[in-house]
């Protein structure tokens, strides 16, 4: 393909470079602040590098220092344990991403390939749910989970999205429709039942779309805030996003514990950064692929 003529390229690259700096600088500033002793914040508010770099902020928010040390390093003395919240976030995200992908694949396969009366009707009803936005089911779902006594439990947190989302069913069914029938017929003649075909043929052939749905669900669950805030605010189920909000509230309004907050923020960015480094190509392709989640 023809590229922009040489002279025009320089300003074009310059614009891209500026966009990249604007995109990445806030992350740099987050890490830079997390590595700064609290006492230096007031004297060095514009310094590009921490003058006395320290890991104490990470240690104290991970609960690895004594209360006195934490207070000396600028903490409020409130008990915080980001190691636990990080683990909670990983469990929350992992459970939803794997279970939802798997169950939606099963449903998508049934809708795409198995013959049963009422198939089109049931599928139509499920797809109609795409029209109901999360804000509308949020309140009744909260009441339901509350009445079931599941507030403050992992079960209550993952319940609404563990089994399905209409979009994932729709997306996976679309892909399964494109798998050639002959392959399945052959597998059936070899003595496989529907489960055998699904497990041995369909799933292995659908790695791309499964990873796409798995990744988008991972990102969505990792970023999720409102539902875990309503249902899992308690210490034992608190995920990172909720913990950061609570942490911000706990620190006095006039002078938030910025170094601690930025250390916590860094922890919430680190896993997605790793995801991007190891699965960047896949993730970028997922966007081209699904385009709408």
């Amino acid at each position: 393909m023809r590229r922009i003529a040489n002279i025009g390229r320089l300003p074009a690259w310059a614009v891209l470079a500026v966009a990249l700096v604007l995109t990445l600088f806030p992350f740099y500033w987050m890490v830079r602040t997390a590595l700064t002793p609290a006492a230096d914040l007031y004297t060095d508010s514009g310094a590009l590098f921490p003058r006395h770099p320290t890991t104490v902020n990470f240690l104290r928010i991970l609960g690895l220092t004594s209360q006195e040390e934490a207070r000396a390093a600028g903490g409020s003395g409130a008990r915080i344990d980001f190691a636990r919240y990080l683990l909670n976030s990983v469990v929350y995200t992992g459970l939803i991403a794997t279970a939802q992908t798997f169950f939606c694949a099963m449903a998508g396969y049934a809708f795409a390939r198995l013959r049963f009366p009422g198939r089109e009707l049931v599928f139509g009803v499920v797809i109609a749910a795409l029209l109901v936005p999360p804000v509308f089911t949020l309140l009744p779902n909260f009441v339901l989970v509350k009445n079931l006594g599941l507030v403050g439990t992992f079960a209550g947190m993952v319940a609404p999205t563990l089994l399905m989302t209409p979009f994932a069913v729709f997306f996976l069914r679309q892909f399964f429709l494109s798998i050639p029938r002959d392959v399945e017929e052959a597998a059936r003649l070899d003595g496989n039942g529907p489960w055998g075909v699904f497990w041995r043929i369909v799933l292995p052939m659908s790695r791309g779309p499964l990873i796409t749905i798995g990744l988008t669900t991972t990102v969505w669950a990792w970023k999720d805030y409102l539902w875990p805030l309503l249902v899992g605010r308690e210490e034992q189920t608190r995920v990172l996003t909720v913990a950061l909000g609570v942490f911000l509230q706990q620190s006095p309004n006039t002078r938030p514990d910025w170094t601690g907050l930025m250390a916590g923020s860094t922890l919430s960015v680190l896993p997605v950064l790793l995801l991007l480094i190891f699965l960047g190509r896949r993730l970028v392709q997922s966007l081209n692929f699904s385009g709408i989640k």
């Binding site: 393909m1 023809r2 590229r3 922009i4 074009a12 614009v15 891209l16 966009a19 995109t23 992350f27 500033w29 508010s45 514009g46 169950f103 939606c104 449903a107 049934a110 198995l114 013959r115 049963f116 499920v126 795409l130 029209l131 936005p133 804000v135 509308f136 089911t137 309140l139 009744p140 779902n141 009441v143 339901l144 509350k146 609404p160 089994l163 399905m164 679309q174 429709l177 494109s178 050639p180 029938r181 002959d182 017929e185 039942g193 529907p194 489960w195 990792w222 970023k223 805030y225 990172l240 996003t241 909000g245 911000l248 509230q249 923020s265 960015v269 991007l276 966007l287 692929f289 709408i292």
Partner: protein, 316 residues
């Protein structure tokens, strides 16, 4: 979208092949039992957490319900009250203001970035870096920017001071708060928007650019006469998807409010619903507001589904 195209080809295959047909008739397959077994988990999730709550939500919106005693039917009272509630209209106005600011800047910047990438580089690394803000929780995004824009110690105000421009209390001043939240979310979502548009641009046949170049068209002319018109279906889709997302802004506002309740300048509709439901315990009233918002989003979703089909045929 690509899979959708293929499915159209695959669907007629349902009865393709006389062989398969004969085989099927000879030994009619009954998948009924297997099918329902495959569907049990997803259908359970659907009925319990999508179907039932939808009906429940409509019912709550017609009741007075404080979560403690049983809902009491009040007919259309909640809706009548909503229409007369200046706070509701205000939160709606704030939301629309946010949506306009956010979508406008996000689409223009996204289009610019996508066009530059399209003509300059296919680097996956670059795209991955632009995607990073989208991957980060909105709460983290909010925190990072509250810190960067802090009135006393924030880096941005440090720069403004150094340039003798005076400091701004971005998140605390009533007239700055909402544009600030708009800008912050533009930062968070522009990369994502740019990549969706870029994906659309990749589907434009390269020979169109080659012949335009032969005709002596410059880059700007090519953008206007080739890229934009060819991209229109994708652009429309991305616009609607961003609109649906923008109307549901909550996390950034919740963080900016710092638990003290959002000032009216940033009390968007989602926050209005949240407050009435979980701070004042007016479930019925909140459900009515949620239903009105759901209607807006539902209309947008119908448009989106239409566009999905339209973009499919346009770029095939």
């Amino acid at each position: 979208m690509r899979t959708a195209e293929r499915s159209q080809v695959a669907e007629p295959g349902d009865d393709a092949g006389a062989d398969a047909h004969r085989r099927r008739r000879a030994r009619p397959r009954d998948d009924r039992r297997a099918a329902w077994l495959f569907l049990i988990p997803a259908l359970a999730g659907f009925v319990i957490f999508y179907g039932y709550p939808t009906v429940r939500g409509i019912w709550y919106s017609l009741t007075d319900y404080n979560l403690l005693s049983a809902p009491a039917f009040v007919g259309g009272d909640n809706y009548a009250r909503l229409v007369r509630d200046p706070q509701f209209w205000h939160s709606l106005a704030v939301t629309v203001y946010y949506v306009v600011v956010n979508i406008g800047s996000q689409l223009l910047l996204g289009l610019l970035l996508a066009a530059l990438m399209h003509r300059l580089t296919r680097s996956v690394a670059l795209r991955a870096m632009l995607l990073l803000p989208w991957l980060v929780p909105n709460v983290t995004v909010g925190l990072i920017w509250i810190w960067l824009l802090d009135a006393d110690l924030g880096f941005v105000n440090h720069l403004l001071k150094a340039l003798d421009l005076g400091t701004v209390g971005f998140f605390v001043s009533p007239e700055w708060a909402m544009p600030t939240i708009g800008m912050v979310n533009t930062w968070a979502y522009t990369g994502y928007t740019a990549l969706l548009l870029y994906a659309g641009m990749l589907q434009i046949p390269p020979h169109l650019y080659e012949s335009a170049a032969l005709d002596g068209a410059g880059e700007l002319r090519m953008f206007r006469s080739v890229t934009l018109p060819m991209l229109r279906p994708v652009l429309a889709l991305v616009l609607v998807v961003s609109l649906i997302g923008s109307f549901q802004i909550f996390d950034t506002v919740a963080v900016a409010a710092r638990g003290g309740g959002a000032s009216s300048a940033i009390r968007v509709i989602y926050y209005f619903i949240y407050q009435h439901a979980f701070q004042y315990f007016h479930m019925g009233y909140a459900s009515a507001a949620a239903l009105l918002l759901a209607l807006v989003l539902g209309v947008l979703t119908v448009v989106q589904m239409r566009l999905l089909r339209a973009s499919r045929s346009d770029l095939a």
